[in-house]
């Protein structure tokens, strides 16, 4: 049981590392948020669940914390993304399409 918990926690730690690497490497705010959201959600989720598997008496508490992270993490990064979109943070040079202006026009109709 201890070994399984260690493996799950290790899996999570690898993804947390990849997420932080992505925040350094990717070009603009939106791409960085992509890496930040996805990798930290799975990373934090599986490291907390792994702790729960290592200590079976903590499992249900850990599950509640993990579900809370799963619900709140996308909302917080959505707020960051929306704020940077509204305040006009520029996109990187590789960007192919940008429909955010059309979107604002449709909203005003």
């Amino acid at each position: 049981m201890h070994l399984v918990g260690m493996l799950v926690t290790g899996f999570g730690v690898i993804f947390l590392f990849l997420g932080s690497l992505g925040i350094f490497r990717l070009p603009d705010v939106y791409n960085r948020l992509q890496a930040g959201t996805k990798c930290t959600t799975l990373g934090a989720f599986s490291s907390i669940i792994g702790v729960g598997i290592m200590e079976p008496t903590w499992f249900w508490k850990c599950l509640i914390i993990a579900v809370f992270i799963l619900l709140s993490n996308p909302i917080s990064s959505h707020a960051l993304g929306r704020a940077s979109c509204k305040s006009g943070v520029p996109l990187c040079k590789k960007t192919v399409v940008n429909k955010s202006k059309d979107f604002c026009k449709e909203g005003k109709k």
Partner: protein, 173 residues
């Protein structure tokens, strides 16, 4: 805010749902079945569910049926599969020396009506491969896509939204 009055049946139903949810959370936190802790938990859950049941009704969640529950379970499984896929996808893009990204901002359309369903859809899109919800206006969602495959609104809706919408449609029907 419209001051709609809810029927007794709706009120009691939301009360029961909240009570069961709070008891489950309490049991998860204490993880024991001692009489003392159970009694305290039941008392606190009763008081809380009487106080909050009106706020819960404002969320306008659908009532509990077996069919909805089964679809919810399937939905959670699909979501987990997509989260795993998303992580390997982003990891691949980050590790690759040339960074194969092709970012862009696109619009998709949704047929869901209630606010809570739209919120769940937006959150699921944020957690799935390469897509990230920036804004919602009416039935349109503004999405940042790390690897743009289509620009047309119909095609983007099919690629991004469809896989979750078919389950959410049944759950919130």
């Amino acid at each position: 805010m419209s001051s709609t009055s809810y029927s007794f049946r709706e009120k009691s139903r939301s009360f029961i749902y909240l009570f069961v949810l709070l008891i489950l959370v309490w049991l998860a936190f204490t993880s024991s079945f001692h009489l003392q802790e159970l009694v305290i938990g039941i008392l606190i859950s009763l008081v809380l569910s009487i106080v909050i049941s009106k706020e819960y009704l404002k969320l306008d969640l659908p009532s509990f049926t077996i069919k909805r529950f089964i679809f919810l379970l399937i939905y959670i499984l699909v979501l987990f599969k997509e989260i795993l896929k998303a992580n390997f996808d982003v990891a691949y893009r980050v590790i690759h020396p040339k960074m194969p990204i092709k970012p862009g901002i696109v619009i998709i359309q949704t047929h869901l009506k209630s606010d809570i369903a739209k919120m769940i859809l937006a959150n699921s899109i944020t957690l799935t491969p390469g897509t990230f919800t920036l804004d919602i206006l009416g039935d349109k969602l503004l999405i940042h896509w790390i690897n743009v495959k289509a620009e047309n609104i119909d095609e983007t809706t099919k690629i991004i939204g469809e896989r979750f919408e078919k389950y959410l449609k049944v759950i919130f029907a």
